[in-house]
Symmetry: C2
Subunit: 313 residues, 2 copies
């Protein structure tokens, strides 16, 4: 494991700011590629609060830059951009790469791993799933309700020392992190929840997860969509058990009146990760010959609602 780590965070929204702050506190050299928060981050750094005393990580422990050229090459690039910005990978990530730089995308859904691999070589790419509840409440300011966990792994083969080293840094930063040899499968496991709940919360006009489950017919569609996603994953060779599917239903009431991130994005007029969460899984499941009727309809509706319609008031 590296005793020092130079990290660049690309896409410092809530998750990027939180991980960046925690990694900086753990001793990494953290450079944020910032846009709207740039002035605040330079002047004051990041404020993190939640169910713990608030703390500030100020420069030079964490530094913000306007361009990737100013950041320069690092050991690890952590990408927390929205998938809808993935056409900027070349410009944003390219200048951050030295000969041995690893690129870890913690983005949702499907597609980013492959896109990074195509641009920069599959050998550089790590993918991860971030389970976390945090919100950017003001420029450079994050509220983190739960630091959650990370699952990460190599994109192009079994995970080895590099993946374990990255995981150790996140662990040191206070985020329990699991290394997987089955990154693609892990992505599908997360989609089992995200596809139905993020999708139905938008297509229903804005229902939170508790209200979706309180409607027996929508709840039944949640389960049917989960089954369809699992069938798609299985057709692609991944393993998803019935117990796992049931666990995704069972865990949801504990979230209370939870609004999935896609719903929050839609209601705030921000880009929704339509292709990563619905479009790309649909295309892959369809390509593997799986049944995709519900997913296809949900994708078409969410896409139409996000592209052509404002959210409900």
């Amino acid at each position: 494991m590296l005793h020092t780590l130079r990290v660049a965070i690309v896409g410092p929204g809530a998750i990027g700011l939180f991980y960046g702050s925690q990694l900086a506190r753990a001793g990494a050299t953290v450079r944020l590629l910032a846009r709207s928060d740039l002035a605040v981050l330079r002047a004051r750094g990041v404020i993190v609060h939640g169910d713990h005393p608030a703390y500030t990580v100020a420069p030079p422990a964490i530094e913000a830059f306007a361009t990737p050229a100013e950041v320069g090459p690092v050991d690890l690039v952590v990408i927390t951009l929205k998938n809808t910005a993935n056409d900027r990978f070349h410009d944003l990530v390219g200048p951050l790469l030295g000969p041995d730089t690893a690129v870890l995308t913690l983005q949702n859904g499907l597609g980013a791993d492959e896109r990074l691999a195509a641009l920069f070589g599959a050998g550089r790419v790590l993918g991860g799933l971030s389970f976390i509840a945090c919100t950017r409440v003001a420029p450079g300011e994050v509220e983190c309700f739960h630091p959650g966990t990370i699952t990460l792994g190599e994109f192009s083969g079994p995970s080895g020392d590099r993946a374990r080293s990255v995981a150790t840094w996140f662990e040191r930063a206070g985020i329990p992190t699991t290394v997987t040899d089955r990154l693609a499968e892990a992505r599908w496991l997360k989609l089992v929840w995200n596809i139905p709940f993020n999708g139905l919360s938008i297509a229903s006009g804005g229902l939170s997860t508790d209200r979706i489950l309180a409607d027996p017919k929508l709840a039944s569609e949640v389960r049917a969509l989960m089954d369809e996603v699992a069938d798609g994953a299985r057709a692609l060779g991944y393993q998803i058990s019935e117990e796992f599917i049931q666990s995704q239903i069972d865990v949801t009431p504990k979230l209370g009146g939870y609004k999935p991130s896609s719903l929050l994005d839609w209601q705030a007029g921000r880009d929704v990760e339509i292709e990563a969460i619905w479009g790309e899984p649909l295309r892959r499941a369809l390509g593997a010959g799986a049944r995709t009727a519900r997913l296809a309809l949900l994708y078409a509706l969410v896409r139409s609602l996000c592209v052509s319609r404002p959210p409900s008031p």
Copy 2:
């Protein structure tokens, strides 16, 4: 054929007012069971305009009553209520029945025929489909863009003299009318269009038919839903050809920026015929073992949007 006909119209919205006026002009004795329009109808009768010189049908050619007891027994009851009011059949229709009264429901979707048959005997029941474009623009006032056509038939067997006699009265009233021996099949044929377009217009947050078809992914879902509805109908023993399905796609662009009636109802905060158009067809197709994934999801979404959510602005 009867040389005189006493008709009661139950549910005098746009369609009921139009058919009542036309039947009165054709020589029938027409009695409207009215509620909100009662005073206007009594004072002035019905005004009809559209792509023809406006005309008024005034009392005593057409008469309005507040209760079915005042209307009393007639030869033919024509039901143009919303399906959402079908739990009032017993009270509204019962007092209109003499020994030989026929009951014709021109309501949308599935379920009304059976409900009337259960209440009043299958032998009384005729069902029909009304293809018409008209709107109630003010109390007792209808704008009719196209008188359209009617298809009607006996509920409980082949159509005979009675169905032909009723059809002749509608023909005399200026509405081309076809008698069918396959009422249930005819209802499914109409659902091939209504289920996808009425449903997607609501689930998309308010898109008119031209905008649905302008979105390639929604257009593809229209076709997939039509195929599913047709499969359900076939599983129940009805015949729906590929050419018919294609014709339902092909006819739609000619409607321009058309808003299906369910969308108008939803946007106006009125009851939507959820069970007749989506729920009952779903249950029957499911019972016949047909695949119903898209229909089930669409039903759950439309139901949720109509029951628990206001329409988009």
